[in-house]
Amino acid sequence: MISNYISTVNSNYENLIQKSLEDILNSEVIGKKSRVVVLVDFSAGHRSLESGVMVDPNLIFNIIDKINKKFNPKNVYIGASENNFDLNDLFERLGYYSYAKLNRNVEIINFSKTEEVKYLNESNKSVLKIASIPELLALSDYVVLFSTLKRNVYERYSGCSYSLANFLLNPSFKEDALAFSKDTIYDLYEYAKPGLSILDARYSLEKLGPIQGDVKKTDFILIGTNPLIVDKHACNIIGEKIEKVIHLKKLIKKYKLPEVENKNFVTLKNINRVEYFFFRVSKLFKKIKLYMRNISTLFYLATLAIVSIGGRDLLAGRWMSFSGYYKIIKTILFKLEEDGNLLEWKITINKHVKEETLS
């Protein structure tokens, strides 16, 4: 099925959603006894709630209402997996629980507290590579994926397909999987295969870190049946070349997307925007924080090198095992890739001082 896009400037918000869902609502893609799993992306701005954007809950409720009205599935599970924030608190504050009270088949789920399973597939049979996902996803009939748009040092563009990682339940695995290998994203794409992908990019996030960032107005929403087409289109809008977004490039190469007409995107204007701004610290404080972090990182790396290599071993001319070196290199790389690291020091500070826009 070819994706639809919200495609009219200055139009009524409701009509745009309805129009974009036409193909889906006119087909029997969701059975009456089926289980719909809705993944919400809280990742943008979640770490300290300093600043950030999230998918607008009203957009989620609006689309679920339409699915409910047309298909009346047995269960709709709206969920997210836990990170460094209180998920229940977020669900409460953003009105998810109130919405679930009004809809009998809707349940709000903290995936991290539900039964988990390990996913397996042809390319990922190794025990070390398997990852925990919610059992609900493994048993789901239809997946709806909501995502925000982010740009950071890890990814030049991060949208729907990257947000699939929110299904991963083990935070350290998730971190490793995203930092060192994109295989997990490919596997998740194949495993979850969302039936509907929504990129709520009315506000987007840009910064060096993967989650915190500066909020930018980008003014568009994309809705499609294929998350890759949505992502490809979003890249076009923000002027990012797909060839430079590694995970997207590989995914598109692997799954051979149908061609999409270029006319299917335009920005949204004059609609009721929902913004989620949290407390933001001053730029001066951020500067001091970054200096402090860089100094502590220096100490950390120096200590790590001394402890890992081992003074005695060094004097005795003994060598470490390969795994020892690998561990050190991995840790150092990880440190260097962190927000505000040594390599990006100047850039980081400049970014805080200078206002920039996407693309």
Binding site: K118, Y119, N121, I130, S132, I133, E135, Y142, Y191, K193
Partner: protein, 338 residues
Amino acid sequence: MKKIRFSIVGTGAISESAHIPSLLAIPEAIIDNICDIDNEKLNYTSNKFSISKKFSDYKDAINSDIDAVIIATDAPAHAEIALYAIKKNIPVFMEKPITVSVEDAKNVYLASKKKNILVMVGYQLRHMANHKKIKQYVDNEEIGNIYNLHIRAETLVIKPDETLLIDYGTHFFDLVRFYVDKKINSVYCDFISNENQEQIGASTVIKFQNCNYQVVVETYWVPDFNWSDVDRSVTFLGEHGKMSTKMSIPEITLLKTKSIRDKKIGPRTFMPKEASNVYMSMGDYAYQKQLEIFIDALINNKNVSSDAYSGLMALKIANAALNSAKNNTVIKDIEDDI
């Protein structure tokens, strides 16, 4: 913490590879003594696991200061030892099959019932995470109404005193009862023999009361294969898809016909959390798990699912299948004479 003192009667391969290592890994278990009529085996096991107290007569082993006995002798001797232990009010964990004669099995069941002594039969498949999960999915109608349950199991080894159905088939007859959990209506079986008239396969069809789907258990003896080549799987076919798993590999494969994802990509495969957190082979895990369940039942005065009745019923199905194949008839009402 209360500790259970065990005697292990029979020190053959299963005790050496499964029961003794499992008990050593369970904090609530103490191996008090081991017993075997074969002195060579007895001494070997005693030395290997540093168990000093050993007997050659099971009565001496049971009469020493123990809380429970594990019977892991050849199957024909199970009933005599179990009946003696029950007489002495000692709970029994016995290897499958409960015994080889239905009459003996019935006596064990009735004696345990009369004296209210716990008897558990070692059908470990029902304690494996994948089978428990699939049963849950069947009960929750994940693939709608079930049309068929198909079990296919191949083995390289059959014990000389027992037959394919009694030695090996009872595992799957017990698993079928675990899945369906209803009264058996009828059993029909057909044998497949080779040129030497040896039974190399048996197809058993079991029907349950108030159960709309058919159960087929196929067991094959494939002595020339490698263990890695044998196929041992369970498949449920349902109104909206199918589910399957292996006997000892805890992967579950699920195909939902209503799912667009499955239509495009095919079935999804996953592993239950319980299985994925296990750092030993699934077979070893299941052996240990069943002993943990047995010990928990003793300490907390609970019932167990694979009790003497389950052991008796698995044997009765195997026996009915044998009679059915010999006489080419459908055997009915096999639960009524108990």
